[in-house]
Every structure is written in structure tokens, then in C-alpha cells.
Symmetry: C2
Subunit: 214 residues, 2 copies
DNA sequence: TTACTTCAAACGAATGTTTGTTAGTATTTG
DNA sequence: CAAATACTAACAAACATTCGTTTGAAGTAA
């Protein structure tokens, strides 16, 4: 499977097609900077453990100034979580539509998780850990989106079992083992590690698909 | 000091606080009650998201009263994390000393994790997620304890590979896959689930040792 | 001008904790 | 035995601090 570039990456780059026609909005995209730094801090100290003043210091402005770019602290959390949720869901849809074997589809999903964790780590961590602090309309929405994603993933495993590609294992156990196995990457992976991202993917896939025992 | 007129006036409260303490026969361990309820709340809303007043309401007393039983909010977190850490470490030592095969030792450790998560779920969750809010002398201690535990676990896997019981897989990947696979139990397991605790253990061990693929 | 950005100051609410005090219970003392 | 004492656990009130957020004024660039 060819891993595609992941949409909606952390930015740091204004997507404005500059050139010279419209030089008026020469923006240093402060908003995205706030979101990026927020994700880093939320990952590091948790949503509740991060104050707007902490965040402001990291961004390089006063706390009050940030309210010209974002509506509230809750909105920051919501934007981060929603972006990650959409990324997962759209990528799952892409993979579902391919013609590969179920084993390859599952492998592609595992690679997707690991790659996203490596490329967009802080945001993924926030979506994994701090989603529960979302305010109420969005909280339910997020949980539903996640449930749908899990259902889609589980369906692939089920179909793989039905097709004889997988062992007749409990689907929930397989699903959650895979989903959680991929989470440690966030705590473990450092760019300068002995393993490259692709090697890491290969090893995890081996472990999950063929198991530890000989 | 100025003695306050307390006569009458339950102060804005319609629900009578049920003043009289029970006769001396009953001695509820208030301290442990506080720790237990704290673990539940910390798991549910996080350490930072739980106020001492929240906790007090759950315990059934005022926030100030709890300070007769515990020294600080930080101490609560420390007591919970330390207890769990010691449990894991001593159980690992027990398993290391048995004469079983390495595969059986790893299986026993996996069972230990699952069982502890089921039997002592809230505390284990807190030790998994909120340890980073420990105050500084204890934070380093906790991280060291965890690192030692991981080293001991990794050694078992290494020896199992050397003995030919396991595939020559990357030890860190195997270790973290196992450790994380077991964490989802906390989010997933409900006492009234279709799977019993033992069945769950069996399925996870199968998944981890023999893998998903056929 | 107009539109946007920044910040110091302040807001009310909530935080963990301390204080002063009271009521019961256990223990010692006369 | 009863009276005096000490201890425990509970409470309301207040503490200083920090929180997220709003306000209003000043600055900047088109």
C-alpha cells in the first residue's frame, strides 16, 4: 500500500498562494501557531494543567492577545480534536475503497496510525487523552466519530476473518490491541532513535500480525 | 476569637447533613475511603480536573475535613501511584523467581496486568495517566520504578528469544506492544461484559503471542 | 480614515489549603 | 465511680493564588 501524504498537517505554513497579486494579507498565521503550541503544551502538561498564560508565553504574546485569534480555550481543544478525528475518518474511507486484501488494509491502517503519531504527534496525543474535556456539544460528536471509526476498523478485521486471512480471534480484542499498541509510539519514538519510522512500522506490524511466540 | 452564633440556621441547606456520628461500634476507614474515591474521580476527570471539593462531596464531608486524614492533594496522588508501583514490582519479582518457561512468565505478567486493571482499575488508571503530576521528589522516584519494571520485563523477553521460545523480534517493540495492549482493558472492560476476566486474558494472550494473521 | 493587533489591568469564579471552633469520644485522674 | 482532660473528626469561613476571559486604550499598517 502506498501511504499517502496526510492532509491537514500541523501547518506552520500559511497556505495563502502569495506571489504578488495580493500582498495585503502578509500574515504570520498566528492562529495556527497558537494551535500548534497548544497541542504541544496539552500533550506535555494536560489540558487542565496548561493555563492560557503558559500558552501565551510559548506563543510569544500576552494571554489577552490570543483572544483576537481564538474564541476560547475550549475552542482550541475542539479544533485540535476535530482535525485529528477528520483525518482518521477520511483516511479510513480511502483505505476501505482500495482493492487490496484485508491484511493489507489493516496494515495500511496501522501504518497510518504510526505515521500520524510521528508527524502530528502532539495533536494526536491531545485527541487521545484530552478529548474528555471537550465541552458538551462537541464531546458527544467526538465520541460518535471515534465510535464510527472503530466500527469501520472492526469491520475490516471481521471481513478479514471471514475471508480466511485472519485467525478467528475476538474482533474487539484484536481491534483494541492494535489501536493501543500504536499509542506507545507517542511516548517512545524520538526522531533520533535507532529505528526509523518505517522500520518501526514494520516491527509493530510483525508483532501484531505474527505474534511473539515461535 | 469571636464565637459564632450557630444556633439554628443550617445555612442554606435543606438537606440535613445527618449530624450524629454513629456509635463507636462502626469505624469506617475514612482515609482509605478518600483514597478510593479520589482514584475514581481522578480516573474520570483527571487529577487537575478534580477539585478537593468534588472529592469531598463524593466522600461525604467538607473539603476542609479531609485534611484531618490526608496531608495534601499531592499526597493522595502519591499514595495511589506508589501503591500501584510497588504492586507491579513485587509481582514481577515473584514471577521472575519461578521455574516456568519464559513464555509462561510473560503470560503470567500479561495476566497480572489485566487482573490488576480489573480488580483495582481506578488506581491503575491513575498510575498510568496522572503520575506526571506528582511533585518532584516522588516524580523521579516513580519514573525510576517504572523504568526498572520495564527493564525486568524486557529481560524476560530477551531471555525468551535467546532460549528460542520467541521470535527474534525487536525487544522494545514487543515490550511496549504488550504493555499498551493491556491498557485498553481499562477503557473497555465492564463487569457485565460478554467476556469474563479469564476469557479476556486468554484472548489477549493469544493475540499477542500468535498474532492476528493466519 | 479603517481595520487589525497588542497589552496592561481588572473581573468574578474557582482552586488548594489554613484557621478557629465545636461536638463528640477516649483516656486519665481524683 | 465521676470529673477533668486530651484527642479526633467535623465544620464554616476565610486565605492567597490562579484561572479563563473582558475591557479599553494605544499602536500599526493599508
Amino acid at each position: 500500500m502506498t501511504p499517502k501524504p496526510i492532509a491537514g498537517a500541523p501547518a506552520t505554513e500559511g497556505a495563502t498562494p502569495e506571489k504578488h497579486p495580493e500582498p495585503s494579507s502578509r500574515r504570520p498565521n498566528r492562529r495556527q501557531l497558537i494551535l500548534d503550541e497548544a497541542a504541544k503544551l496539552f500533550k506535555q502538561k494536560g489540558f487542565g494543567g496548561t493555563s492560557m498564560r503558559d500558552l501565551a508565553r510559548e506563543v510569544g504574546m500576552e494571554a489577552a492577545s490570543m483572544y483576537n485569534h481564538i474564541k476560547s480555550k475550549d475552542e482550541i481543544l475542539d479544533l485540535i480534536c476535530t482535525r485529528i478525528a477528520h483525518t482518521y475518518i477520511s483516511q479510513l474511507a480511502d483505505i476501505e475503497q482500495t482493492e487490496a486484501s484485508y491484511a493489507d488494509k489493516v496494515k495500511a491502517l496501522i501504518r497510518l496510525h504510526i505515521r500520524l503519531m510521528i508527524e502530528d504527534g502532539p495533536a494526536v496525543s491531545v485527541a487521545n487523552h484530552d478529548w474528555k474535556y471537550l465541552p458538551e456539544p462537541q464531546l458527544t460528536q467526538f465520541k460518535e466519530a471515534r465510535k464510527n471509526y472503530e466500527k469501520g476498523f472492526a469491520r475490516l478485521i471481521e471481513q478479514g476473518i471471514a475471508a480466511g486471512e485472519f485467525q478467528p480471534i475476538n474482533v474487539s480484542v484484536a481491534l483494541f490491541t492494535i489501536l493501543s499498541a500504536v499509542r506507545w509510539v507517542e511516548l517512545w519514538y524520538r526522531p533520533g532513535r535507532e529505528l526509523s519510522a518505517e522500520e518501526l512500522e514494520d516491527h509493530i506490524i510483525t508483532m501484531l500480525l505474527t505474534g511473539l511466540a515461535k
